[in-house]
Symmetry: C2
Subunit: 375 residues, 2 copies
C-alpha cells in the first residue's frame, strides 16, 4: 500500500481485488496483510494458512485470478474502474478515516473528488420543504465550489444530487455500481456520472442488503469535511451517518424544523447535541472553509503497525493466551498487548489470523472483540 | 423605598403615584429622588426646583393629589390596585432588573407571581403550528408549576396565555390596565385575571403607543427566569424581548422552524446566536429548574447611591463641568465621576436634575447620555 507508487500496475490491481474480495478480509485486515507480507500478491499465498491458524473451520476461499479478471471486465463494460488507496484519484478525506476501503469502484469523473466535499443526507419520505431545502443548499454550495456527496436514496439524498448535478456530485452506492438502488433513481445516477461520480466499495453484481447501508453511510461521511442532515426522524439512518461523521471528527450540521413535524425530530435532536444550525449555505461554508485549504493536503493518518519481519511467528501458546484475553466486549489493542505481555507484532499477527478466520470484530477507534459462536 | 416596611401606607402610595406620574420621572430618577430626600412626599416638594436647576424650560407639572386620587379610584373601580416595589406581592424577579417600575398596577390574583415565571412570546401573524406549539409549551410548563408571562398580543402571546389559563398566567399590558390591546383579546384578558393577573406600569387611561410596546417587553423579560421565542420574523419585537432578556442575564430559548418559513427566521437566528433550542417543555425546565429554588429568594440587586445628605448642593460651575463631559454617546457614571473630579453625590444630583428636566437619557447597564435639542 505504498504512497510512493503513483499508480498500481495491472497485476497489483488484480491481486488487490482478489485480496479485498476474499471472505473475512476487510479494509483493516487488508492493510495488516499487505504490511506483513509486503504486497497483496504475497499475502494471497499466505492467507489460507493464516486463517486455519486463526481457527477457521474450513479453508478460506480466495477468489481466483479468473474471477477477479471477470470483475475487472464487468467494471470496464460499465465504464467504471478501481482506484487504489495510494493512487492520486483516490478521495483525499476518505484516506483519513479509520479503515478506508483499499479499492474504490468509480464511475464518472474523478475530478469531482478534488472539490472540497460536503455530504447532504436525510429522510427518504422527506417533505416538499425538505426536498426544496436540500436542493437549494446543494446548488448554493455547488456554486461556491463545493462537491456534494450523498447516498442516492429517495427524498433528501436525491434532491441533494439534483441540486448539484451541474457543479459536481458524488453518489455512494450500498451495492455494486451495476446494482443501483432504488431503481427509480437510475436515470438520476446517469446524470450524476456525466459530471460527477458514483462510487462503491462493494463488488460488481452485489445486490445491496439492509446491513450494507450503514456501511455506505460510513463512506458518505468519510469522504466529506462535514455532513448536513436536512430532515430526519428519530432513530433514522441519517442520524447514524451523523454519529459516524462525528466519530471521525467531521463537522455535523442540521437544518432545524418545527417540533410538531416528526421529520424534524432527528435534526432538532442533533442541534440539541451540538450540531451546527444551518438555514443557508453560508452557515456550512463559514465552518468548512477554514478546513479546506490546509487539511485536504495532509497525508493520510499514520498508524504504522509494528515491524512484523523482525519477530518469529506466534506459537500456539501465544494464541491461547490472547484468546483468553479476548471476549465479546471490545478492548483496545494496546490493552491486549499490556495484559498478555506478548510482543506487539505477535498480537497483531494473531488478531489478523482471527480476523481472517471470521472470529474477530473490529470497532471504531481500533478496539476489537471476539465473535462468539463462530470458533 | 424601604425593604423593611412590608406595606406602603395609603398616604405613601398616593405620593409614590404622584411622583412616578410626574413628567420626566422614570424608575431610575424615582429611586434617586426617594433616596436623596428620604421619601416620595419630600421629593415631590423639591422636584420643581431641581428640574429648573437641570435646565427645564418651564416648571415641571407635578400631578395634584386630586389627580392621583382619581387614578387610585379608577383602579379600584377596575378591581385593580398598585403594588410598590418593596411590598411582598411585587414580582420577585422584576425587582432585580435595571430600574424596575416602583409601582405596578395589578388586576387579578398576585399569588400567580409566586410561581416560577417563564415568558413565552412570538409573532402576531403566527402559523397554526406556532400557535399550537405555544399553547402546548404553556400548558406543559403550567402543569409543571411554572407561571407563564406574555404580552397579550395576537398569535403566539394569546396562545401562551390560553395554554396556561388553568395553571396561572400573567399578561403585561403596554397601556393602562383599562386600555387593553388588541380589542379582540379583551375576553381572553378577563379569563386571565380570574386565576392569573394583568399588570402594567402605565397610568390608567393610557392608550398604548408604538413606543410603549418595547417598554412592555422589558417588563415581560424582567419578570421571568427565561424567555421562549416561538415564532418570530427577522427584526421583530420578539427579538427585542430576547435581546432585553439576554442583557438582564435571563435565559433565552427559541423554538426552531423550517428555514423556508420566514416566521422561523428570527427564532433560528437566536439559536445561531446561542439561544437554547426548545422542542418540548422539558428543554425549558431542564435549564430553569436549577435557578428557581435559590435565586428567587435573593434580595433585589443593591446598587446603593452615595449618601447625598453628607454633601453640599452642587454649584453652577459643577453643573457646567458635568454638562461638558456629557454628550449624545452613552458614558458610564463612574467615568463621569473620574473625568470631572466631582464628588459622586454631586454627579448623581446633577444627573437627577438633568433627568427631571428631560435632558438625560438612561441606558441599560447604568450609562447615561444627553438628549440633544432639548436644553
Amino acid at each position: 500500500m505504498s504512497e510512493k507508487a503513483p499508480r498500481l500496475s495491472d497485476r497489483q490491481r488484480l491481486s488487490w481485488l482478489r485480496l479485498i474480495r476474499t471472505p473475512n478480509v476487510g479494509p483493516a485486515s487488508f492493510r495488516d496483510l499487505v504490511n506483513r507480507f509486503g504486497s497483496a500478491e504475497a499475502a494471497l499465498e499466505m492467507l489460507p494458512g493464516l486463517a486455519l491458524a486463526g481457527g477457521a473451520g474450513r479453508v478460506v476461499r480466495v477468489p481466483s485470478v479468473a474471477e477477479a479478471e471477470a470483475e475487472l471486465a464487468a467494471a470496464e463494460r460499465h465504464g467504471a474502474r478501481f482506484i487504489g488507496i495510494g493512487e492520486p484519484d483516490y478521495p483525499a478525506l476518505l484516506k483519513r478515516m479509520d479503515h478506508p476501503p483499499p479499492l474504490l469502484a468509480v464511475k464518472g469523473e474523478p475530478a469531482v473528488f478534488k472539490l472540497p466535499p460536503v455530504a447532504i443526507v436525510g429522510a427518504r419520505n422527506a417533505s416538499l420543504a425538505g426536498v426544496k431545502m436540500a436542493r437549494l443548499l446543494a446548488s448554493e454550495l455547488g456554486r461556491e465550489g463545493y462537491g456534494i456527496v450523498s447516498g442516492l436514496a429517495r427524498g433528501i439524498d436525491a434532491a441533494a444530487h439534483e441540486g448539484s448535478l451541474a457543479t459536481g456530485t458524488v453518489a455512494v452506492l450500498a451495492g455494486g455500481l451495476d446494482r443501483p438502488y432504488p431503481p427509480e433513481n437510475v436515470p438520476l445516477l446517469e446524470e450524476i456520472v456525466a459530471r460527477g461520480a458514483a462510487v462503491s466499495e462493494m463488488p460488481f453484481g452485489w445486490e445491496p442488503r439492509a446491513q450494507d447501508f450503514p456501511r455506505r453511510n460510513r463512506i458518505v461521511a468519510g469522504m466529506s469535511f462535514g455532513l448536513v442532515v436536512v430532515e430526519a426522524a428519530k432513530r433514522s439512518g441519517s442520524l447514524i451517518s451523523a454519529r459516524l461523521a462525528g466519530e471521525m471528527g467531521r463537522l455535523v450540521f442540521a437544518v432545524p424544523g418545527s417540533p410538531l413535524d416528526p421529520r424534524a425530530a432527528g435534526a432538532n435532536g442533533l442541534l440539541k447535541d451540538g450540531a451546527t444550525l444551518v438555514t443557508e449555505a453560508a452557515d456550512v461554508i463559514e465552518a468548512i472553509a477554514p478546513l479546506t485549504g490546509a487539511a485536504i493536503q495532509l497525508p493520510p493518518r499514520l498508524d504504522e503497525p509494528p515491524d512484523f519481519g523482525a519477530t518469529s511467528p506466534p506459537l500456539d501458546s501465544d494464541r491461547a493466551r490472547l484468546l483468553e484475553a479476548l471476549g465479546p466486549t471490545p478492548v483496545g489493542v494496546d490493552e491486549l498487548i499490556r495484559h498478555t505481555g506478548l510482543h506487539p507484532a505477535q498480537v497483531f499477527m494473531i488478531l489478523l489470523e482471527l480476523d481472517l478466520a471470521g472470529r474477530l470484530e473490529r470497532h471504531s477507534g481500533g478496539s476489537v472483540s471476539l465473535v462468539l459462536g463462530n470458533a
